[in-house]
């Protein structure tokens, strides 16, 4: 099919044509193609009746100037098209390009502007999506459908039309490149309109001449055209028939065919791919009109085209290398490429369609449930959460929200819901039944609204619960067929299968074993046994059992704390609140009951703690065993809160006495010089675990110890220090971080107390903590004793020294002198690990600084001289740049911590 003498051939079809071109006239007959010879007996001679000069009536036929809206077929078709899609853009893109394409159609295939088709359509795609959204929402914008009609005004080139029509066929799109290539090819051919038209005629392989040969009053029917087009599109490889009666065709007034064709074409498109067509019907008529009205110079369409092509020739192709003619290879490649692209695009399109369909099909269910329905479900769900004791069953949410609220309040943020402005529990029943809603909502909407909604919900949930109860009481019992007796039906909704189907018996068994173990321990370790009776230490399992037991006790205690009744009112309060004596008495009794209960629970816990066990009962001591796991560390702080001062003291002394038995001390992670990469996987994991244990110990137990020690008198501190120096190898303990921390606590407490002693207490103020002179003496003695033993071993306390020692020898305890201090930094240590090492060293330096403060002057000298090498090494390493700058700085700071205490400074060391 040829439009106005333009070559619209698909490239693969043109293949043959190109070859034939030169010998066109000769070959036409020899080709295995349909040759139509008008004038044979079955020719009806209609062609002769054509008016050759009939162009004058064109305006009448097609309307001149102002076109009515009747021509805007797209308006009608768009309503049926429903969704607009690719076809839409395909029309749009080339048309918008088309007006410019007068300049650029000779571009090579590797067009800069459209490397792939996807690229080419990439930009408009988005907008089409949007548009699609609009249209799919069932009101089709009729205005937008006529969108591109502006492009098809008579000013447009014929190229335009062809571009549009050529790109339309759904199964095989023609890209702009193709069209360009065709235009090029057409131009490159012998420059007679004749040939061009011939090629064009062949290009679509239509029997256009036949029908066109008919008189204008009997155009092809749409069905015919469709059929022909289909058949042509399918037989792609066969050489296109070259009509022989071109002259006739040339003489045809071009108005009938194109319009009929384009209509039919559009129709075809519409059937083939409903989505791909909206604009196509619009453009052709407009163009037809333009075409059908020959210009004043009486140019035919072909002549017009040639003129345009001539124009094109004036603009050399931008990319040069324009394959004008005789480059079959590149054309083949192009074809392949194009085919691939077309397939790609088709796939993408199909995928998109499927997606769109899916979404469309699902959108049928949109808003099936109203908001009320959804709320109802929520209420049903909530009604199932109603329990007898909402505070307990919603324990986590209640406490968590309380904590969060407290934290928020502390930060100063507005608190959405607090005890003050709303209950955390919705009461839905008469007997405290309810459900917890203890969630902090910091984003407070309109409060009034929320409250009414809450109330409504409460009422509804209450109703649901009541109904459910009624149903439950009138539980239907019916006889199952074949069953003996009556079976009670309980739907799975009211009695869901429990998730954990652990039978009660096994649980009892477990708890009983736990209690027997506990009894065993308690019985065997009780005071009935003589002192000094050795036992096996607790196994890990026993420890865990006991810890769980303790946790339960503590939870009870904490719950009791929460439920603590107000203390018995004093006389003044009684008057103030207008209480009767009976009420006051009742309160008092309540308070007493509570406190006795509480004390009982504390006592039970105290027993369970095994603190009272004799010191030598086992190694490690049972209580110390409890502190061997992280769980125990975390428990410690919570335990201490409930204990009396005396009990705390006992715990502390026991802890100190058995400090070396602690897991974190005994199995302290050895600081290694070698970076952890040199350890085996097992060792590394072990090391990591030990480190983690130490961390929790330092973060949960040590603060509690600080708190306890903070309440001690100097006498006690002195006693503890001497206890330590008597009972343990202090140096060994000091080599661990918990040890260092402990001694730092003790020494700093002593220092503080001494300060208090030094400052004269103002008259009239109670100063119970001020140590007496005797206490000071006692402390001095104790610390001096400790230091005397410790000073020779001090250098070995540093983690860095230990690490070096470990690198050289089998164990850290083998090192004696200070010789290894000078050992240079053994390479390969990670900077990060080194930094940590220095930080840990810093802790030791801090401790030694407090030692230095406590020591008498001669001891101080001793201290400095014993540490001389270490100090020198550290300072040198920092100053001479053996270590990185931040580490050097850290080291200097560490050393200065100690030296400044003695009135010295690292700057003095050269």
């Amino acid at each position: 099919m040829s439009f106005f003498g333009f070559d619209a051939t698909l490239p693969e079809r043109r293949r043959g044509l190109d070859d034939d071109l030169d010998a066109f006239g000769d070959k036409a007959g020899a080709e295995d193609i349909a040759v139509y010879t008008w004038g044979t007996e079955d020719y009806d001679g209609l062609g002769d009746q054509l008016q050759e000069q009939g162009d004058d009536a064109n305006d009448m036929t097609f309307g001149g100037g102002d076109i009515g809206t009747d021509f805007k077929f797209a308006q009608q078709t768009a309503q049926y098209a429903g969704m607009d899609s690719r076809g839409y853009q395909q029309n749009q893109a080339p048309t918008s390009y088309g007006s410019k394409s007068k300049l650029k159609p000779t571009k090579p295939v590797s067009d800069l502007f459209a490397s792939t088709e996807a690229d080419f359509f990439g930009a408009p795609k988005k907008s089409s999506r949007l548009r699609q959204k609009e249209t799919s929402s069932r009101n089709i914008p009729t205005t937008s459908s006529f969108h591109s009609s502006g492009n098809s005004t008579p000013t447009n080139s014929t190229l335009n039309v062809i571009a549009q029509q050529a790109t339309n066929p759904a199964p095989a799109y023609k890209t702009l490149e193709e069209i360009e290539a065709e235009a090029r090819a057409a131009y490159a051919r012998p420059n007679s309109g004749f040939t061009a038209s011939a090629v064009d005629q062949g290009s679509y392989g239509m029997q256009a001449p036949v029908s066109a040969g008919q008189p204008g009053d009997r155009p092809m029917t749409l069905e015919e055209i469709e059929r022909e087009m289909m058949s042509n599109l399918t037989k792609s490889a066969s050489p296109a028939p070259v009509p022989a009666t071109l002259t006739r065709q040339m003489q045809q007034p071009q108005h009938e065919m194109p319009s009929g064709l384009s209509q039919g074409y559009a129709q075809h498109l519409y059937k083939g791919q409903p989505q791909a067509q909206i604009q196509s019907p619009v453009v052709p008529p407009a163009n037809v009109q333009q075409q059908a009205r020959p210009p004043a110079s009486d140019l035919t369409g072909i002549e017009l085209l040639q003129k345009q092509l001539g124009n094109l020739a004036m603009f050399p192709p931008l990319g040069s290398a324009a394959p004008a003619k005789g480059q079959p290879k590149s054309e083949e490649q192009m074809d392949r490429e194009l085919e691939a692209r077309i397939r790609e695009t088709e796939m993408a399109e199909m995928k998109r369609m499927r997606k769109a369909n899916k979404i469309a099909s699902m959108s049928r269910y949109n808003d099936v449930m109203t908001g009320g329905d959804k709320e109802f479900i929520t209420r049903i769900q909530l009604s199932q959460l109603v329990t007898q004791d909402p505070y307990t069953s919603d324990f986590y949410a209640q406490v968590h929200s309380a904590i969060t609220r407290a934290r928020l309040a502390a930060v100063g943020q507005p608190v959405g819901r607090g005890p003050a402005d709303g209950p955390t529990v919705l009461q839905v029943g008469p007997d405290g039944r309810g459900l917890g809603v203890g969630v902090v909502r910091s984003t407070g909407g309109p409060k009034r609204l929320k409250e009414t909604a809450m109330q409504r919900m409460t009422v509804q949930v209450k109703r649901i619960v009541e109904n459910a109860q009624k149903r439950a009481t009138a539980a239907p019992s019916a006889t199952l067929q074949g069953a003996l007796g009556k079976n009670k039906f309980r739907s799975s909704a009211t009695a869901p299968r429990p998730t954990l189907a652990v039978s009660a018996s096994s649980k009892n068994l477990q708890s009983s074993t736990a209690s027997t173990i506990a009894n065993l321990l308690q019985g065997s370790g009780g005071s009935t046994r003589p002192n000094g009776d050795r036992k096996q230490p607790l196994t890990e399992k026993q420890v865990l059992f006991r810890l769980e037991q303790l946790y339960e006790l503590i939870l009870d205690l904490e719950q009791m704390r929460r439920d603590q009744p107000p203390p018995a009112p004093t006389e003044a309060q009684k008057v103030h609140f207008g209480m009767t004596d009976e009420e006051a008495e009742e309160k008092r009794i309540q308070a007493e009951q509570w406190s006795s209960q509480y004390e009982g629970a504390v006592e039970a816990m105290w027993q369970a703690l095994l603190v009272q066990e004799p010191l030598e009962v086992s190694d490690p001591h049972p209580f110390i065993s409890l502190l061997s796991v992280q769980k125990g560390h975390k428990l410690f702080g919570r335990l201490i809160r409930h204990l009396s001062h005396q009990q705390c003291l006992t715990v502390l002394i026991l802890l100190l006495a058995c400090f070396p038995q602690l897991d974190v001390v005994r199995n302290a992670p050895m600081p290694t010089l070698a970076s952890s990469s040199m350890l085996g996987p097992y060792e590394r994991a072990n090391h990591k675990r030990a480190e983690a244990r130490t961390e929790t110990f330092l973060s949960s137990v040590i603060p509690v110890v600080v708190q306890l020690v903070g309440r001690l008198e100097l006498k006690m501190v002195a006693g503890m220090v001497s206890l330590c120096s008597e009972r343990w190898e202090v140096a060994k303990v000091l080599a661990t971080r918990p040890g260092v921390a402990l001694f730092t606590i003790l020494f700093s407490r002593a220092e503080m107390l001494k300060h208090i002693a030094a400052v004269p207490v103002p008259e009239g103020q109670p100063a119970p903590m001020v140590p007496s002179q005797a206490e000071l003496d006692q402390w001095n003695l104790a610390s001096a004793n400790l230091l005397r033993n410790l000073i020779p071993k001090l250098p070995s306390v540093f983690p860095s020294t230990q690490a070096q020692a470990a690198a050289f020898g089998p164990g850290i305890y083998l090192l004696g002198g200070n010789g290894q201090n000078a050992a240079s930094e053994i390479g390969s240590k990670d900077e990060k690990e080194g930094m940590q090492m220095d930080l840990k060293d810093g802790e030791v330096w801090g401790l030694i600084a407090s030692f230095g403060l406590q020591a008498p002057p001669d001891e101080q000298t001793l201290l400095v001289s014993s540490l001389r090498d270490k100090i020198l090494h550290t300072v040198h390493s920092a100053k001479k740049g053996w270590v990185s700058a931040p580490r050097g700085e850290l080291r200097l700071r560490n050393v200065n911590l100690f030296l400044n205490g003695l009135g010295l400074s690292a700057d003095m060391i050269d």
């Binding site: 959804k374 769900q381 307990t392 324990f395 946790y551 939870l555």
Partner: protein, 70 residues
């Protein structure tokens, strides 16, 4: 991903203001604002670490276990 609105005894979940974290796999969920998920099809639930107090949760489970034991 969304705000938990309610959970029932079957661990059915109702979510509000949901977002789809893997839109490629669940494009059809993109248009949905709130949903009800049957508990049996839930593989796992992810919660931000900061929003969970582990120790408190441990305590809560201990309490529950104790209550069940009684």
């Amino acid at each position: 991903m969304g705000t938990l609105k309610s959970v029932d005894q079957f661990l059915n979940i109702r979510l509000d203001n949901i977002k789809v974290s893997d839109p490629d796999r669940f494009p059809h969920m993109m248009a949905i604002k709130n949903c009800f998920i049957r508990g049996s099809v839930v593989r796992y639930v992810q919660m931000p670490t900061g929003a969970v107090d582990t120790q408190l949760l441990e305590d809560a489970t201990r309490r529950e276990a104790k209550d069940n034991k009684k």
